[in-house]
């Protein structure tokens, strides 16, 4: 085994074991270093956590650049790094197709959501949705959809952590994996409990820099091995795989009419779901003004776009240098493409770095989801609905912190329980629920004057309910080879992505509920929301410390 230095000189490298790839000890050591550094930063950041605005929104003190980097850190989960590189390595173009939806979706956030939301809300998505409608029912509905999206996303991440452990640390037994999931969960609880939004944001910024830098180095490396020519790289990938079809679409989604429709449904959920993910929306409150919210999205678009271009090179690089067969046969399957490529290029050290980044990724994403869910419970359900606003912000933050512990423990239990289950569909489900339950109400309440409470309630519960019901009746849950429940078949809905039905349905229900409602909303509130959303008047500014 040899590594090639940046100057192109081959340096011999001794590896401890030839059979298992890389050194688990080194991987753990590098990850430990990341944890130590971020903990110090989180502790320092926590000194100023006094008020609710500090805890939920980091005192609105981040710049657009910092927040944009944190958004990228929040958004680029282990699934998009390991998953997309692996999907391109094995299925070629169809993996790339997947990543494009994740990027284009940010235009919805940039043009229609980010700035207006920053100007009208305070801490949560429900702040915006209930602004001019009836507080109680709309807040409850918005909090329920927020918690549902966070729960699905969180469970997918924690279950993914187990798989990553067996791949990167060589721990294959259930007990060992459970211990690692517990460690990840406890670390996450500490970050969020101590650091609040400020600490969480710094973890995401550091992780985004490491992830994008790591992917960039590997991309340059792969390109250098192929004369910095994309065509040469594609040629090498075709040669290794012996299949010219990997450079054009169809290998994964083109199998049958159902898979084609399934992809269309997924594309719809990806492009409309991103701008309605509650943990992404909450990040817009950490900046002082709408203009900084706009800058955040711009930074996020550049970073996320660059990252997906890197994954294109890395995916075909893995396909060319390692080959789809070896990737599919490795422990971890598709997800092992990026780690195997790192090992092929830079030996144990690069593999260790990439593995640590993958772990950091899970930690940062899970932390972002947890603080969002905790804020929604404490701010929307506890303070506004249970206590009817009669609670001081300190009491609210206390409840938020307790919620963090409960959610952390639940996600550890859920992660251990979901081990070995096929839960990859949960991420797609989270996007579908966000696009069906949240986006119609966000857009209607920002742009449609006549929109009212009944429309919001019908759209949110209808979108959430139909997305979950269709998934429950789909082949991912029963009746298929890889279904969650084996030995039973109640799959009457043929697609594994509900978006193509549930998203139009939720938009329709929002309209129908509104036109059938006999009550009209307060026109003063509508005027206030519109003026505030476009001018930013009275929006809470940054707090000085």
């Amino acid at each position: 085994m040899s590594i090639i230095t940046a100057a192109g000189i081959r340096v011999p490298l001794q590896t401890a074991e030839a059979t298992s790839v890389g050194s688990p000890v080194l991987n753990i050591a590098i990850f430990g270093l990341f944890v130590a550094i971020t903990l110090v930063i989180v502790l320092r950041a926590s000194r100023n956590n006094k008020t609710a605005a500090d805890y939920y929104a980091a005192g609105r003190s981040f710049t657009g650049g910092q927040n944009g980097t944190a958004i990228a850190g929040d958004y680029l989960s282990a699934a998009s790094f390991l998953g997309i590189v692996g999907a391109i390595a094995i299925n070629g173009y169809d993996g790339f197709l997947y990543s494009i939806g994740f990027l284009v979706a940010w235009l919805v956030a940039l043009l229609l959501v980010a700035e207006l939301l920053r100007n009208t809300g305070k801490f949560t998505m429900a702040d915006v949705l209930s602004f001019r409608l009836k507080q109680r029912p709309v807040r409850i509905a918005a909090a329920i959809t927020t918690l549902a999206v966070c729960f699905f996303y969180l469970l997918a991440q924690m279950a993914g952590a187990g798989g990553l452990v067996s791949l990167l640390l060589g721990i294959n037994d259930r007990l060992g994996q459970s211990i690692v999931i517990t460690v990840v969960g406890v670390l996450m609880i500490m970050y969020v409990l101590i650091g609040g939004m400020k600490g969480t944001t710094w973890v995401q910024i550091i992780k985004a820099c490491l992830l994008i830098a790591g992917a960039f180095i590997m991309t340059i490396w792969v390109l250098a091995l192929h004369d910095f020519n994309l065509s040469t790289l594609l040629g090498a990938a075709i040669e290794t795989s012996g299949n010219a079809a990997i450079t054009s679409p169809g290998l994964q989604y083109g199998v049958s009419a159902t898979t084609r429709l399934d992809f269309l449904s997924l594309a719809l959920a990806l492009v409309l779901g991103t701008a309605a993910l509650p943990h992404v929306l909450m990040r817009f409150y950490t900046v002082p003004t709408a203009k900084e919210a706009r800058r955040s999205v711009v930074w996020a678009i550049w970073l996320i776009g660059a990252f997906y271009l890197f994954t294109l090179v890395l995916g075909y690089g893995a396909s060319a240098l390692i080959g789809a067969d070896r990737i599919a046969a490795a422990p971890g399957g598709v997800n092992s493409a990026a780690p195997l490529l790192a090992y092929e290029l830079g030996g144990s050290i690069l593999l260790g770095l990439i593995s640590a980044v993958a772990f950091a990724t899970i930690l940062a994403v899970v932390a972002g989801l947890t603080i969002t869910a905790a804020a929604s419970f404490a701010h929307d359900i506890y303070a506004s609905v249970i206590r009817k606003g009669k609670v001081d912000p300190d009491g609210e933050v206390k409840v938020a912190r307790r919620t963090v512990i409960v959610i952390g423990l639940l996600s550890i239990v859920g992660g251990i329980g979901a081990q070995g289950q096929n839960v990859a569909f949960l991420v797609a489900l989270a996007f579908a629920v966000a696009a069906s339950a949240n986006l119609p109400t966000i857009l209607y309440s920002l742009f449609w004057k006549k929109f009212n409470t009944q429309g919001a309630i019908w759209s949110m519960y209808g979108g959430l309910g139909s997305a979950i019901l269709l998934i429950a009746l789909s082949p991912v849950v029963s009746g298929g080879e890889k279904s969650m429940i084996q030995g039973a078949d109640f799959s009457i809905f043929p697609l594994s992505n509900p978006g193509i039905v549930s998203i139009p349905l939720a938009f329709f229900l929002g309209w129908l509920g509104t036109v059938l409602s006999r009550t009209t909303e307060d026109p003063m509130k509508q005027a206030e929301m519109e003026v505030r959303s476009l001018t930013g008047v009275g929006a809470e500014k940054a707090t000085d410390h």
């Binding site: 990027l103 043009l111 040469t232 075709i238 450079t247 594309a267 550049w302 609210e396 930013g536």
Partner: protein
């Protein structure tokens, strides 16, 4: 702020007549400029994205047409999705800086001067 967690901004609507502001020419102009950019642009990029998705989903042979070397129509259209996303982003930022921000800022200052007790935090930003 900070004393009342329910209302996004502690019942401040009472002192300012927002419906009046909403009817001013200046505000109508701001809303028109905002919507006349973001709505057509959103329709455009969604159509362009779904045209691409449908081609990738149903026109495999067209997407596989070689252009040069191993680069085919599919790769080029895919990369163009990145280019168009970056271009729309830059376009919107420049439009917002020139056409939206000045009007929004002047309206905001007018409102804040007219009713400082409503919009300017009485505690001076101290929490």
């Amino acid at each position: 702020m900070g004393s009342h967690p329910v209302e996004p901004d502690a019942g401040s609507g009472a002192a300012v007549d927002f419906t009046e502001v909403q009817q001013t020419e200046q505000f109508k102009e701001l809303r028109k400029r905002h919507r006349s950019f973001v709505f057509p642009m959103a329709v455009f990029f969604l159509l362009w994205y779904f045209a691409y998705v449908l081609l990738a989903d149903y026109a495999h042979e067209f997407m596989a047409t070689p252009v040069f070397g191993n680069i085919n129509v599919g790769i080029i259209l895919g990369l163009l999705q990145f280019v168009s996303t970056f271009a729309i982003t830059m376009w919107y930022v420049s439009y917002a800086n020139r056409r939206l921000d000045p009007i929004a800022a002047s309206l905001r200052h007018e409102l804040e001067e007219a009713a400082p007790e409503v919009f300017v935090d009485p505690s001076g930003g101290k929490k």
